[in-house]
């Protein structure tokens, strides 16, 4: 039944309108998919938190035009979960703000004594809960955020 291994993942994708209405169904879908693939409830829930943050950012700062979409592509390996969220690119200011937030969350994690601000905490939470997070800005400001989480009970 399960052909999942460390090399050949299950791949699934969802592309949805850039609207906050869709974030809850999508993040729950990802969590339930991890649960049925034998990841622990804790792992599934924390992944749901990460998906929520990144999709929320993609909608608010990325895919802002009329009819814009956001795409999430997930790969489920036996020992890890990888996913990427692609948005259609925000304004230059939004992208610079996102880059800045990524750097800032690095600095915050390195120095826990830094003052906390509620704005930008999302990426800090993502970084705290994942093994790897990368951001790429392509042509026309198309933005991809890639996240890797390793199975905690592996």
């Amino acid at each position: 039944m399960f052909s999942m291994d460390t090399q050949t993942p299950y791949v699934f994708k969802v592309k949805f309108p850039s609207d906050l209405d869709y974030v809850s169904p999508v993040r729950k879908f990802v969590a339930e998919t991890l649960a049925v693939n034998k990841f622990s409830p804790k792992f599934a829930y924390r992944s749901e938190v990460i998906v929520d943050e990144i999709c929320h950012n993609a909608i608010i700062h990325g895919s802002r035009t009329v009819d814009a979409t956001v795409e999430i592509e997930c790969k489920v390996f036996s020992d890890r979960f990888e996913f990427q969220v692609n948005d259609q690119g925000g304004k230059r200011d939004d992208i610079e703000r996102l880059k800045h937030a990524m750097k800032k969350s690095d600095a915050r994690l390195a120095d826990a004594s830094q003052e906390k601000e509620s704005r930008g905490l999302g990426l800090e939470i993502v970084r705290l809960l994942s093994e790897e997070i990368k951001m790429e800005v392509g042509e026309d400001n198309m933005t991809t955020v890639r996240v890797v989480r390793k199975r905690e009970d592996a």
Partner: protein, 264 residues
């Protein structure tokens, strides 16, 4: 002279739509000012107005009553007056006044514009999914579609029926799809205020195509039409729950298209 300021401007996302950036106290003294500003909205033939209220410092029932009157006029013209950006404090006051039962509230302008597309322009929205042909993926997929339907205002009953349709169609796609190719199943969802359309596409198993074609053409009208016959019950169930069902078999793929009208 009221301390309230209303700045009227077009929305960045949809310049043909108008936004009011409201700042200051929405008190009884501002009623005349709101009335005058609203007259200019009506003169410009706008029927959808977004009131951005992140800068509102206090609210009075008299001013909210005035806004309700404005909204009523827009609703009669097929539009609406919606509110975005209110603070928790202001929202709790509006809730105590009963305004949350009258106005629609959105967290940000983008969501308000999407609501305009959905409610006023009655545009449909599309979701595209792709998942592996394994049975364990079906429950999360069907639940996601059901949640989307509920989120878009469909009743629990309608959403559950949609979930049942997705379950049947996707299970069929997994069970009767090609075991050799192991190609992902595509599920395309088109939803609007009146109906949801589902299209499930899977790679076909050439050995099963003829049997499937025969099964789909001899589909019983009700599940108990042929007691003892186990095959074909899923398709009969889909047919009962939906308003239109089309199945297309081609050399390398099977596509099932289901339309379900919103009932309640």
């Amino acid at each position: 002279m009221p301390d309230l300021k209303i700045q009227r401007k077009p929305l960045d996302l949809r310049p043909d739509l108008t936004m009011w950036k409201i700042e200051g106290p929405l008190d009884a003294e501002s009623i005349g000012y709101i009335h005058r500003e609203f007259d200019s909205v009506l003169e410009s033939k706008q029927n959808f107005l977004v009131a951005e209220m992140s800068g509102v410092t206090q609210v009075s029932s008299a001013a909210i009553g005035q806004l309700m009157g404005c909204r009523q006029l827009l609703v009669e013209r097929g539009g609406d007056l919606v509110i975005t950006g209110v603070s928790l404090d202001i929202k709790s006051k509006l809730s105590a006044m009963g305004a949350t039962k009258i106005f629609k509230f959105y967290n940000e302008l983008r969501t308000a514009v999407n609501a305009y597309h959905w409610e006023v322009e009655r545009k449909s929205e599309m979701v595209w999914m792709s998942f592996p042909p394994e049975l364990q993926f079906v429950p999360p997929v069907r639940q996601m579609v059901s949640r989307i339907a509920r989120q878009k205002g469909y009743t629990n009953r309608d959403s559950f029926r949609i979930e049942t349709i997705v379950d049947e169609v996707c299970n069929n796609a997994v069970e009767h799809g090609s075991e050799r190719l192991k190609k992902n199943i595509d599920l395309n969802i088109k939803i609007d205020r009146e109906k949801i359309e589902l299209e499930v596409i899977n790679a076909s198993d050439p050995d099963k195509i003829d049997a499937l074609r025969a099964l789909s053409t001899s589909m019983p009208k009700t599940p108990d039409a042929k007691l003892g016959q186990k095959r074909g019950r899923g398709l009969a169930l889909i047919k009962m729950l939906s308003n239109k069902l089309d199945i297309n078999f081609s050399g390398d793929g099977t596509s099932v298209h289901v339309t379900k009208l919103r009932e309640e």
